[in-house]
């Protein structure tokens, strides 16, 4: 790793954390789209600032940009309060208007300066390490400045520090005003102040991250880690920590992905963020797809490496030609290898990931069905003392189940030591079975669940 690579990774880490914190609250307040609006309309502030001071690195730019962010929020709320349109429509009306003014101003007046639409749209991380913060420069003397390292680190570092301080100081206020604005107001914590505080922090963060990742990807960095963390946890502090973690992991992984693919850093970061979200949301399918791609990539790389070592020169080859060459070397064993990697990785990912997604959902519904069946069965046994009703064969007719199902239910009950089956196939409840049935009935009838609490961990039936 060279120092530029290290610098970029420090920058993306800081940006990821600085974005994840306000992003978490935006997601919880169902205001994710406002970050999109702010990130676009600040362009106007940046352009106006640039025209005033003619310098892209002036703090005035950051101030004006953040101000435009706040103006965006105020305008959105103003339009929304008329009651004529809903919030999403108001957002859709405001930010394109402000953004387009910025675009017009750039194309009219700033054609020959370093403020082009391209770098404005996706940021310019790869150049960030070469823009150092220089202080104590003396006029006319070359190399007299003290180099404090990349400026982006300082800018985003200071923003992050302020954000963290505010978060720690006002955590409780943020929490209560996000969860229950009415209560916050009644307790004297003005939700309006908290709202605009959060909007200010979001605006400043977006401005700080704007240079590095651009207006589109900064939205991904604010929303995707928080949305992913939201699927994972049900605790606000942990959600904050997790979204920072996801943001950082995705950013650094994205940086290396960009390095390998020789592609845009911010684009790769966002791709990794999207994959992370999909992994958590739908772990099984995503992990199979991702692991297969990784497997294929590994085999391809192995061939590429071997070919180069073997003296094959790829100079002048197009990417397609390289791939054709490598694929031509494919043998049956490679497919097995890829499949193997895919299975192992998928199994691992499914194992470590939380229990969500389609397949798990299906499993859960089936499980619930079985539990209800079990309960019906146990109830039947409890309610009938006469032996004729408790014969294994009789169950088929009485509870009207198919033979296979009643057999599996009896097996399940037996496995849990809830029933015993005598030699002549008469079923009776064990003490544990009777106790369980009693408690379950009690719970279903009274809905009072102090007793059932400990049982809930083992059974889906009694959960939500």
């Amino acid at each position: 790793m060279n120092s530029a690579q290290i610098s970029i990774q420090i920058i993306v880490t800081l940006v990821a954390i600085a974005c994840a914190i306000p992003g978490t609250f935006l997601v919880l307040r169902k205001m994710s789209l406002i970050s999109d609006a702010i990130s676009h309309s600040i362009l106007l502030g940046i352009v106006i600032g640039f025209f005033i001071v003619e310098d892209t690195s002036s703090p005035l730019l950051i101030f004006l940009a953040a101000l435009t962010g706040i103006v965006t929020v105020i305008l959105v709320e103003f339009i929304q309060k008329t009651g004529l349109v809903k919030e999403d429509t108001a957002i859709g009306l405001v930010f394109p208007a402000l953004f387009s003014i910025g675009v017009i101003l750039i194309s009219k007046n700033a054609n020959d300066v370093h403020l082009d639409i391209d770098s404005v749209m996706v940021g310019d991380l790869s150049l960030a390490p070469f823009d150092p913060l220089l202080i104590n420069c003396q006029e006319g003397i070359a190399d007299s400045c003290i180099n404090l390292g990349p400026k982006a680190i300082w800018v985003i570092g200071i923003i992050l520090l302020v954000t963290l301080t505010l978060l720690i100081a006002f955590f409780k206020e943020l929490k209560v005003s996000t969860f229950d604005a009415g209560l916050a107001a009644a307790l004297g914590f003005s939700p309006v102040i908290m709202h605009y505080g959060l909007m200010t922090v979001s605006s400043v963060t977006i401005v700080g991250a704007f240079d590095a990742v651009g207006p589109i990807l900064v939205v991904a960095l604010m929303i995707a880690p928080a949305a992913t963390a939201y699927l994972f946890t049900k605790d606000l502090k942990r959600m904050l920590l997790l979204s920072c973690f996801f943001g950082v992991v995705a950013s650094i992984a994205g940086f290396w992905l960009a390095h390998i693919l020789d592609a845009s850093i911010s684009g790769s970061m966002t791709t990794v963020l999207a994959i992370l979200f999909l992994l958590v949301y739908e772990p099984i399918i995503t992990s199979i797809i991702v692991s297969s791609i990784v497997g294929i990539g590994m085999v391809l790389y192995q061939y590429y490496d071997a070919a180069i070592l073997g003296g094959v020169s790829f100079e002048g080859y197009q990417l397609g030609e390289k791939l054709t060459y490598i694929f031509s070397k494919f043998v049956f064993l490679d497919y097995v290898y890829i499949l193997g990697i895919a299975v192992v990785m998928a199994a691992f990912l499914i194992y470590i990931l939380p229990k969500r997604g389609l397949i798990y959902g299906y499993y859960k519904v089936r499980q619930q069905k079985t539990e209800i069946m079990l309960l019906v069965f146990l109830l039947h046994i409890r309610n009938h003392a006469e032996e004729s009703e408790r014969h294994v064969k009789h169950l088929n007719e009485h509870i009207n189940w198919q033979r296979l199902r009643s057999q599996s239910i009896v097996d399940l009950a037996k496995k849990n030591n809830m029933v015993t089956v005598s030699a002549d196939n008469i079923i009776s409840l064990t003490e544990k079975g009777a106790d369980f049935t009693e408690k379950a009935i009690d719970y279903i009838i009274t809905n009072k669940d102090t007793e059932i609490e400990e049982m809930k961990d083992d059974f889906f039936l009694f959960r939500g």
């Binding site: 206020e173 996000t178 107001a185 049900k234």
Partner: protein, 245 residues
Amino acid sequence: MEEKYAITVDDLTVAYNYKPVLWDIDLAIPEGVLMCIVGPNGAGKSTLIKAILGIIKPIAGTVSVFGKSYAKQRSLVAYVPQKGSVDWDFPTTALDVVMMGTYGSLGWIKRPGQKEKKAALEALEKVGMLPFKNRQISQLSGGQQQRIFLARALVQNATIYFMDEPFQGVDATTEKAIINILKELRKAGKTVVVVHHDLQTVPEYFDWVTFLNVKKIATGPVKDIFNDDNLTKTYGINYKVSVQE
């Protein structure tokens, strides 16, 4: 004999987009009553509570709590919003929600500590929700969520309690449990104001009633003014309720 009023509302008018939803309300709530506010949908019942608590800014009129403005008397007042007004998928636990009740006395920046936690646990115990203290709030039933809200108000240890439809969507057991706690509060000399929908239970639960439909129709002791005449005036149609003695 001069009665002591917990809440005095003078000439209160509240408007949304210049359309009045509360019109020139004068209301005095005596100390120590268990009062319900009844009226049809859109009558401004919730708005009245929110205006008293300063959550909504009225366009005219004043509110005072024991003779002073609400902002000065915040610590005397607890508020239970409508259950549906918050997102129960918020990542937090029952205990944490109850702890929020202590934030008011803590003020800005200061964090809740052991003392606040103990108070919150006691409040949870009172509403019978102690076994659920670490339960994620989305995993609670509607009645349990309402109890959590009630516990959050109890932990404030206030003198006046405002509750916005605490019986909405709860089962009979929870309703009984809640009304018992409200009656205990009144016994302890607290003033309780409840937005209520079920007219049948008014005489059984409350001793004071306010009829509201954009304007105030009537206010007073249930036994004196809870009659068909006032109900008809409030609900428009010829409303009859069989009052069980």
